[in-house]
Amino acid sequence: MKKLILATAAFAALSMGANAQETVRIATEGAYAPWNFLNDAGEPAGYEIDLANAICEEAGITCEIVINDWDSIIPNLLAGNYDVIMAGMSITDERLETIDFSDNYFPPDPSKFVANAGADLDFSDLSGARVGVQGATIQAAWAEENLGDDNTIVAFATADQAMADLAAGNLDTILADGAYLQPVVDASNGAIEFVGEEVMIGNGVGAGIRKGDAELLETWNTSLAALKADGTVDALIAQWFDGAGPFFTE
């Protein structure tokens, strides 16, 4: 027992030094293409993984990507199991109460509804519908508040699971990030289509960092600013989001 505690203390002392050799652990969900997903090789890939690597290269630090379920991704950041979240997480006032965010690396993006083609939904007064969301997202909170009284809100562990239920007809509609839904709609050959009105929630997507990790936040923002200025961020967005942008350069 004693040995274990000493070993831990040694580790804690090491991490206090915050030298350049130290590994920064970046958590992502790995189930939110094209933001972050597990590719056919079984490795994390996507816009945020490319961006994370670019940031780490720019800042000259060693990085490691870890996969963590979405619903516990903030608690495990707070618990210190990794240092940064890059998982398509929107910057919101509520989240800012518990964690800090870097500058956004994806501009504010409207949330949208999708439904199976031909679905008859009256969005001016939606009632009796089964609305799918990913649990613990801004869309889940919004749907619970604005649609929760007259509709059934079904929360899923991943966005892909919600998609499976929509495709199988177990949901009437899904509310999710537009940038997540767009490629799905494009690839569905008209089977899935956008419906209703867009909802503006959140202030863009940023990297979540523990409060008090000012040094790391600074590193992230500096590197991000450099990558935005030289066009790397826009190039990555265009690559992963089918030519969208540019957002951060003229």
């Binding site: 929760g148 899923f156 699971q161 239920d165 007809g169 177990n170």
Partner: protein, 244 residues
Amino acid sequence: MEVILNEILRFAPAALFNIYFAAASIPIGFGLAILFAFGKGSKNPLISAVSRGYIYAFRGSPLFIQLFMFYSLALSMNISTWKPMGIDWLVLHPLFLGPLVLVLNTTAYTAEIFYGALRAVPHGELEAARAYGMGPWQQFRSVTWPHMIRLAWPAYTNEVVFLFHATAIVYFALPVIGEQKDLMIRAKEAFERDFNAYLHFPIAALYFLAVSLVVFFVFGRIYERLVRHLERAPKIRFSPKWLR
């Protein structure tokens, strides 16, 4: 102290979900298990093989994966089957699908218990019943059933407690609808807000312990009735050889 009391009150509605899951699946599982126990002991090779295979498959695999698989399977049959029948809203609801999988699961475990008890029914008494000219149904009612239920009851009590414990993983595998959250989801959410592991999980555990004790008490009383004719009535115990 007040914190603990508040926490207990806050978790009370969540406990109802676990109790509902268990209460909805135990009676149905009990009935089906009798059928499968007789099926396993049947002389018809087909019935026997099917019952054996069913019991083995469900006892040999984790409930957690059974829940995942049946949800996904039900989902894939939604458009072709449930929708035309107009029961899709029911089949995929966790409050239906959860107990359904629990029924399938507990039926297998209970059937194995009953099968063991069936084999221990004294042969001489059955022969005597036949000699008295009793039909199969009368034999079952007056000889097989009383023996089987008395022999199986302690093990069945354990199974009921285990099934109640198993309800804890239902919502880890199925989607959560609105505020329908059970003890485990509540405890996990509360922990992820304030990291007080020593408060939330033990309170949830308290509910499980309390219900387990109630089950032991009630089932113990029933057992006393079942064995009241015996001179040296055996006591019910949470005993190792009756493990699931």
